[in-house]
Amino acid sequence: MTDAIASLGRTTINALVVFGRAFVFLMRVLASLDIVIRRFGLTLAQVYSVGVRSLLIIIVSGLFVGMVLGYQGYITLVNFGAAEALGGVVALSLVRELGPVVTALLFAGRAGSALTAELGLMKTTEQLSAMEMMAVNPYRRIFAPRFVAGFLSMPLLAAIFSAVGVMGGYLVGVGLLGVDSGAYFSQMQSVTDWNEDVLSGVIKSIVFGFVVTWIAVFQGFNAQPTSEGISRATTQTVVVASLAVLGLDFILTGLMFGAG
């Protein structure tokens, strides 16, 4: 019994220590952000590797999610004679929820794990240490550009996901199931509100981008410098980031739509 309490205590303290380190790390990265403006090329290169290289998985997933939404939405709506409302249903589901959430989950798996593995390996092979000894601050040269790149890419990827999803819904709804093309888009236009729907989705994707990138970069920085350590850190990034996204989505949805 005492053992169980002791181990609970130890786990809690360890978790708090990691959280504290993550917070200090974040503060240091934020204090180094001037490099992003001074040498935008560094960040741009990272936007390419974090954002552009995630495009394929985002576009393909967005297309399929949109197509499935088109099917499911049509099957339900047609029972009520409201198949014309399909455009609105697809757009709202994507812009409010699926766009930011699914993109963030995919982003954690594709870009987050790559960031963690890259940084963990740089630490293991003493590249970060060597940089410090060359009087180059790794927070400015390595962490800050990656952090900003992730943070910038996420909302853009989420927007692309939603846009492609809308086209996927169109392909199935209009192309396959015979919903009127004009009705699809006019419904979409009339039910989607800029502030309430689009902006709330954008806010979500910004928050998710921040959190996923923070977790990924920190896990790489904090990884044990062994092959096992890197593998554990990479797994942690995907697990912790995915859970954080889902938890935060619930909270953000509650905050943004709960009161209304």
Binding site: M122, E126, M133, M134, A135, N137
Partner: protein, 277 residues
Amino acid sequence: MADPAVADSPHIVIENLRFRRGRKVVFDDLSMRIPRGQVTTVMGPSGSGKTTLLRLIGGQLRPDAGRIWVDGQEVAKLSTRRLYALRKRMGMLFQSGALLTDLSVFENVAFPLREHTDLPEDVLHALVLLKLEAVGLRAARELDPASLSGGMARRVALARAIALDPDLILYDEPFTGLDPITMGQIVSLIRQTNESLGLTSVLVSHDVAEAMAISDHVVLIANGRVVDAGPPDELEARASDWSAQFLQGRPDGPVPFHYPGASYRDDLLGQGERRDD
């Protein structure tokens, strides 16, 4: 360097250094002076904290007690800005080379120049070629670090370490895991670099023959303290039991072959340390 007082003063002074890692005491009251403009090797058994010593000198670790001065500046008390200014005059060669894997050989050597200077591209190009020529790898400039052998990676790392013309170079186990030819190349490069650039070289190593051959000054450390120090020939002449065992590589002596514990006889007879549960 023009000031004779500076020229004669030791480059690095370590006084009463204490450092522990967890419960393990790495350094216990360690003091040494590293003379300017010479090759000094710190030797000691594996696990005696040689690499840790370099990290303390470079300010990557802070001592628990005691002080370290590099060029008259106390490393642990420097602000980040001044520490970085000091590091620009300090090159470090890591055992693995620690080359940046996403950059070519050329860009690795150019890295410190690009980060710290505003040189026009043609001047930078000439400088990098000069450094690569010095280590014999000018023709390998387009290669990827992953395709280099261990010895080549270390030579590129040396070219990078001297890119900013430092006045101090720290070498972490430069001879470990090299074939005889590469070993010879590295040994002569360290000596040549020291002489042609007039800098202070600090090596940590446990390769006795190579280290004794190129050093002007040798410091032996064990159990967190300095056991002996001096020029290599003097050290060999007056070696204490421990130093003699280390320098001649005898398997048994003051440092026992057997891990300390109950005697073999007691263990066999079941009288040693035994778990009764």
